[in-house]
């Protein structure tokens, strides 16, 4: 069946959030964001911005705090968080002010006019460092950067390790990445002062637990925050959960401005500050017996949630809690969980949520274990799979694996996917000396999250005090209108997965009608439509829970319609049949009615319908899973309602010159219970696979060690294009879930869990190296594989003068060089210490004023080529040793970002004048670093060159060409160095 969603989308007629009408008096918001990772806000000057044309208001953190409350989280700590930073910024991109203006263009003009004075603090970036005793604490009230620390024991892991024939251990780092929907966040907020209530449209995707948090932050009861979602959404994959702080920001904006406010996030904002997967450092140990049976696992997980623990975090850490033993029968398990805050963007929902962070270490470690035992990696896995007879199987940490025959699925995939041929291929390639490898991944994919899983983080005593949280309530409404037409309304907030198509199909099947005649409404309004705390589009709950609830509602409605129709057809209800859009009598199809006729009767002649049919043909079903109990006193938790099974294998070849990874073959086997719609299922698998492949090879939200964000454009954050996605072989097994109404389980997230590690295992096999982190970029693999770099045979081993190298700590730009200035050291010295002459030497300097002894403030325009920005710079001259040496310290701040630098300048007398030797360190952060990382080294070098060029000309030098234009000289230099110049 083709999708009912498609014609509207294909014709460009769909209404996405940014397409919805706004009233003419609506204004537009833009956010000023922190250019630095960590710092105190000493002062903010918004006066110029407020006076600019079209600007209605500039809202700062202080006002935000006055109009809202801190967002609550599942972990009780004193670390308040508002929609705007108050007095401290904690990540690059953190909103510090919100401008409201007539349009977005004017709003952005005003952003450039706001001046913020930051006092930088030491950035805390690496989670291991952040958790250490010496780290600066991000939230002083919390007393530590570790906001959560718990250990769990299931079975007797200590004894299992003590008695094990083999143990294996390794530490892995899962990076930050994001599924980056092509549509960014969008919010339109309005406030009604009369009723003190908010009406806010956002392309939010749930979970609706966050509704409570938003309403509380806006200081209204839930019924005064009417949250609506648009008819169409441009993808989410979990990401659009993170729009919620902006819902609050815009709500407050609308309240202050007294008009509707709209905000459309741009791509730079999205990549920098929307959300991220958690990055996690995991040390995993396994104990195995002689035969390769896994006796115990021991996880030490350090979860980096960024600058704030933002709801629903630390859910990434607990979503998989019940199935931390993977697809394996393992009786003993130890888990040590810590959550740490660092100066990075707060994390949130992401397709595969918590999965890749578990399976990357687990499935990597199994390869290592197999190697240690001399076993084939697939054989080791086979020996440990949960056996089919054991289903449903209760895992050690409490998951109830509902159905599946894992061994059968693996065998089928090996057969049908052609593993033997792939192995032959590998052997042949290796015989030719090529780098070819095969990787496997076995994954259990949970779906339908238990609302109580997050409470596993509490101790049993804390849970007892807080009261139980459990279940996964889903709701759906099916109704006939007076014309006899049928409609379905759900609160699943689809983001492209085809929910309308599936629900139309489910309902049409119940009523024996054409799915195209079923209208499905998925836009949602918390003020009017049924919803539950568990509503929303997450944890793959649609197929199992929402479709199931819809099916239940449709069945109930049919029961009632059957009573009406039986009377109309004059047959007993048991003989009423449905088909081809009609209702007919069993055995006598001529005795029939159009489906809608009897249905309409419930509206038009309620007095004439039979007893028991009830009035109004509308059914709202709520569906829950009794299996989803709260955690027990032993901390066992059935964290999800259903568990699919995935087995992937792939073959890769690595280019020995470029280290490019080519996927030769990729096979993915899924058992997600009953398939509701194979075409849509495969579409989900392919989409998840593409994102998993991106996470394996390309995608990272990258930070430098100072917390500078480096991947602010889609040219830097590398989502795969059509060229990077290989053929995919999809296989299905179907073991219906006994616990979901239709036997279906989620399947859209699985490849985000399995594919990254499957590819990593194959690359590791190809290269014969351990791989401990992702993505496997070409450069990263090269660094792993390349031995000592062959030295240059040229006599000079100096780098080309003026080039930059990364510093010893691997991040700040460092450089050195020297130049000849045709003046005596005393003359050069006097230039550097003369206010007027210094102004002429500093590139792009408009005004220079002395603000203290040997300390200056300058307004400068800096840039290279067309890139230019105004900065306020401070320059200090220190450690003066006239006329021999001094130290320059400086910083610059402007709309393009901030930088801090330090340089040493030494003067030596020579026959031609003075040789000026310099070395410097520069750290650059903010927009220019996020979008121009490729260029920053060169730009810094160009500016330093400008400085010395000007110094030379100030000294009356005619030798400006010496330092002019790195390029011309570079080109010439290269040739002459090589002795090859013509």
């Amino acid at each position: 069946m083709q999708r009912v969603e498609d014609p509207t989308l294909l014709r460009g007629l769909a209404r996405f959030a940014d397409d919805l009408p706004t009233p003419p008096h609506a204004c537009h918001a833009a956010f000023l964001r922190s250019p630095i990772a960590h710092g105190e806000i000493r002062a903010m000057d918004t006066a110029t911005a407020e006076a600019m044309p079209g600007v209605l208001a500039v809202i700062t953190g202080v006002e935000m705090q006055a109009h809202s409350m801190s967002f609550i989280t599942g972990v009780k700590v004193d670390a308040p968080q508002y929609a705007l930073a108050i007095d401290r910024v904690r990540y690059v991109g953190e909103p510090v002010a919100m401008v409201l203006a007539q349009d977005r263009y004017l709003a952005e003009d005003a952003l450039d006019a706001i001046v913020v004075d930051y006092q930088p603090l030491t950035p805390v970036i690496d989670p291991v460092v952040a958790a250490g005793a010496a780290a600066l604490i991000l939230h002083p009230g919390a007393g530590s950067n570790v906001l959560h620390d718990r250990t769990f024991r299931y079975g007797d892991p200590a004894a299992a390790f003590a008695s094990a024939a083999h143990t294996v251990e390794a530490t892995y780092r899962y990076p930050r990445n994001s599924c980056t929907p092509i549509e960014c966040f969008c919010v339109i907020a309005d406030f009604d002062p009369g009723s003190e209530s908010f009406e806010i449209m956002a392309n939010f995707q749930g979970p609706y637990t966050l509704h409570t948090i938003m309403a509380r932050a806006l200081r209204v009861p839930g019924n005064r925050l009417r949250l609506k979602t648009p008819p169409h959404s441009g993808g989410s994959y979990g990401v659009k959960q993170a729009v919620f702080p902006y819902v609050v920001a815009l709500g407050v904006g609308a309240r202050i401005a007294g008009r509707p406010v709209k905000w459309l996030e741009d791509r730079l904002e999205h990549l920098t500050a929307a959300t991220s997967s958690t990055n996690r450092v995991t040390t995993l140990k396994a104990a195995l017996d002689e035969g390769g049976r896994i006796l115990a696992l021991d996880y030490d997980q350090l979860e980096d949630c960024g600058a704030f623990l933002r709801a629903p975090e630390p859910a990434t850490l607990y979503r998989m809690h019940g199935n931390m033993t993977g697809a394996y029968a393992i009786d003993n398990l130890a888990i040590h969980n810590r959550v740490v805050v660092t100066n990075k963007t707060p994390t949130g929902l992401m397709r595969g949520f918590g999965g890749p962070q578990i399976y990357f270490p687990l499935e990597r470690l199994l390869d290592k274990a197999a190697a240690n035992l001399g076993l084939d990696p697939l054989e080791l896995r086979r020996r440990n799979l949960v056996p089919a007879e054991a289903m449903p199987h209760r895992t050690a940490p409490g998951a109830l694996l509902d159905s599946g025959d894992y061994a059968r699925s693996v065998d089928r995939a090996v057969q049908e996917g052609g593993l033997a041929e792939l192995k032959a291929c590998r052997d042949a390639a290796r015989a030719e000396g090529r780098l070819f490898g095969i990787g496997y991944a076995v994954v259990v994919e949970p779906s339908i999250s238990n609302m109580g899983y997050i409470t596993t983080l509490l101790s049993p005593e804390q849970r007892a005090r807080a009261g139980p949280k459990n279940g996964a309530l889903a709701t759906a409404t099916v109704a006939f209108d007076p014309s006899g037409a049928i409609s379905v309304a759900v609160s699943s907030v689809p983001q492209g997965q085809g929910h309308r198509t599936v629900l139309a199909q489910v309902v049409a099947d119940v009523f024996g009608m054409d799915p195209l005649e079923v209208a499905v409404f998925t836009e949602h309004d918390t003020g009017k439509d049924p919803w539950t705390i568990a509503s929303g589009n997450y944890s793959s709950r649609f197929a199992g829970a929402v479709a199931g609830a819809t099916h239940t509602a449709a069945l109930r409605l049919r029961e009632r319609l059957t009573l009406i129709a039986a009377a109309d057809l004059n047959v007993p209800p048991e003989q009423v049949r449905y088909g081809d859009g009609r209702i007919f009598a069993q055995g006598n199809p001529d005795n029939s009615l159009p489906l809608g006729r009897s249905a309409a009767k419930a509206h038009w002649s309620p007095l004439s319908i039979p007893e028991g049919a009830g009035a109004g043909l509308r059914e709202t079903a709520f569906w829950n899973m009794p299996e989803l109990a709260e955690p027990d006193e032993g901390d066992r938790i059935n964290s999800s309602g259903a568990y699919g099974f995935i087995f992937d294998f792939c073959g890769v070849e690595v280019d020995p010159d470029t280290f490019a990874v080519r996927i030769d073959k990729y096979v993915t086997m899924h058992d997600a219970g009953r398939l509701l719609n194979p075409m849509l299922a495969n579409g989900q698998i392919r989409g998840g696979f593409a994102q998993g492949l991106g996470a394996a090879l390309l995608e990272e939200l990258a930070y430098d060690p100072d917390g500078g964000f480096q991947t602010g454009t889609l040219a830097d954050y590398l989502a795969p294009t059509v060229m990077e996605i290989p053929e995919l072989t999809i296989l299905h097994d179907q073991s219906p879930s006994p616990f979901t109404p239709l036997g279906a389980k989620g399947l859209g997230e699985g490849n985000c869990m399995s594919t990254p590690v499957c590819i990593a295992n194959a690359v590791s096999d190809a290269l014969g190296r351990e791989l401990r982190t992702l993505p496997l970029t070409r450069s990263r693999l090269a660094e792993l594989m390349l031995g000592e770099e062959p030295p240059s045979t040229l006599s000079s081993t100096d780098p080309v003068p003026g080039t930059l190298t990364k510093g010893g700590d691997g991040h700040a730009l460092q450089g050195q060089g020297s130049t000849i200035v045709p003046a005596s050291p005393d003359e050069v010295w006097s230039i550097l210490l003369d206010e007027g002459k210094l102004a002429a030497v500093i590139p792009g300097c408009h005004v220079l004023s002395m603000t203290g002894e040997n300390t200056y403030r300058a307004d400068v325009t800096l840039g290279v080529g067309p890139v230019k920005g105004r900065f306020v710079a401070t320059v200090g001259l220190r450690d003066l040793d006239p006329p021999h040496a001094l130290r320059l310290i400086g910083s610059a701040a402007g709309p393009l970002g901030t930088s801090q630098g330090e340089g040493l300048v030494s003067l030596f007398e020579t026959p031609e004048g003075t040789r000026v030797e310099y070395s410097y360190t520069v750290r650059i952060s903010g927009k220019v670093a996020a979008v121009g990382g490729r260029m920053i080294d060169g730009a810094a070098r160009a500016l330093i060159n400008q400085f010395f060029k000007r110094l030379v000309s100030q000294s009356g030098g005619a030798r400006a060409e010496e330092v002019d234009g790195a390029a011309t000289t570079l080109l010439a230099r290269l040739l002459s160095w090589l002795g090859l110049a013509k």
């Binding site: 990382g933 490729r934 260029m935």
Partner: protein
């Protein structure tokens, strides 16, 4: 992500454009395709006072051959040059390199000369110009001058074009009989800026190798047969390179050695 305000001028002829440049100089930017400049303006990395749109100037739309040189006007798009029927014969290296620039959609708007003016160290056309030892024709009200590739690109995103000047054409020498060329690029994804781009032109006497993406400007070297690995290694070191989030300097140098060798072998194979 919206550009700062600017005046927009669409001159009817080159003289009008030059007059505007003379008048507005440093605050003006020429816009032909705007595929690099537009993105930078949207991000407010570039905030010119005035944009002078030359895309419609007929006098800049010519692709012509004169005196053994292929001259490409400043309003000719990358796609138009690629589709020019004689290209593969007259200058096969350009025909090989053009499809690597950005994407179908940006090549149809982005111009050959605009890419030179942008002078991105990783982009293909500056490498082609340097390798082929082409020239750039500049005009201003002060007159006309022809600048050789070696003097044209002065640094990363920096060129010899003065504030009142603009590029009116680029000149690429035609392929010589008996010579052959090869090109290879390594990028993270198809269409991304090159981590390293390597091109070579050779004949029986020797081979000229050009590398983009490592140094601030394309590096070019003339080599005689046979080319020793140590020479490539020395060249790689001389280019230096810097680390960024996409690649380390060491990986870039390794690509110079290995891809350089591949490309040189391709040339020598084609010659023999």
């Amino acid at each position: 992500m919206k550009p700062a305000a600017f005046d927009y001028a669409r001159p009817d002829n080159l003289d009008e454009a030059l007059a505007l440049l003379a008048d507005r100089g440093a605050g003006a930017r020429i816009c032909a395709g705007g595929q690099s400049l537009g993105a930078m303006m949207n991000m407010r990395l570039a905030t010119p006072d005035i944009l002078i749109d030359i895309a419609g100037l007929q006098e800049l739309k010519a692709i012509a051959i004169m005196d053994g040189v292929l001259e490409v006007g400043a309003a000719v798009t990358q796609d138009e040059l690629w589709r020019w029927p004689e290209l593969a014969d007259r200058q096969p290296l350009l025909a090989q390199m053009l499809p690597w620039i950005g994407h179908y959609q940006t090549r149809q708007r982005g111009t050959v000369c605009g890419s030179l003016a942008h002078a991105d160290p990783s982009s293909e056309l500056p490498l082609a110009l340097a390798l082929l030892a082409g020239d750039v024709v500049l005009r201003s009200q002060r007159g006309r001058r022809v600048v050789g590739a070696g003097d044209f690109q002065t640094g990363m995103m920096a060129t010899a074009v003065a504030a009142d000047e603009m590029i009116v054409a680029a000149r690429f020498p035609l392929a010589q009989p008996g010579s052959t060329s090869a090109f290879h690029e390594v990028a993270q994804r198809h269409g991304d800026f090159a981590i390293v781009a390597v091109a070579a032109v050779g004949n029986e006497n020797g081979v000229r190798l050009g590398v983009g993406g490592v140094a601030d400007v394309p590096g070019v070297i003339d080599l005689t047969w046979p080319v020793a690995d140590t020479t490539l290694n020395d060249f790689a070191w001389a280019l230096g390179g810097a680390d960024d989030q996409h690649a380390t300097a060491r990986y870039r140098r390794q690509l110079v050695r290995r891809i350089g060798k591949r490309v040189i072998e391709e040339v020598s194979d084609a010659l023999s």
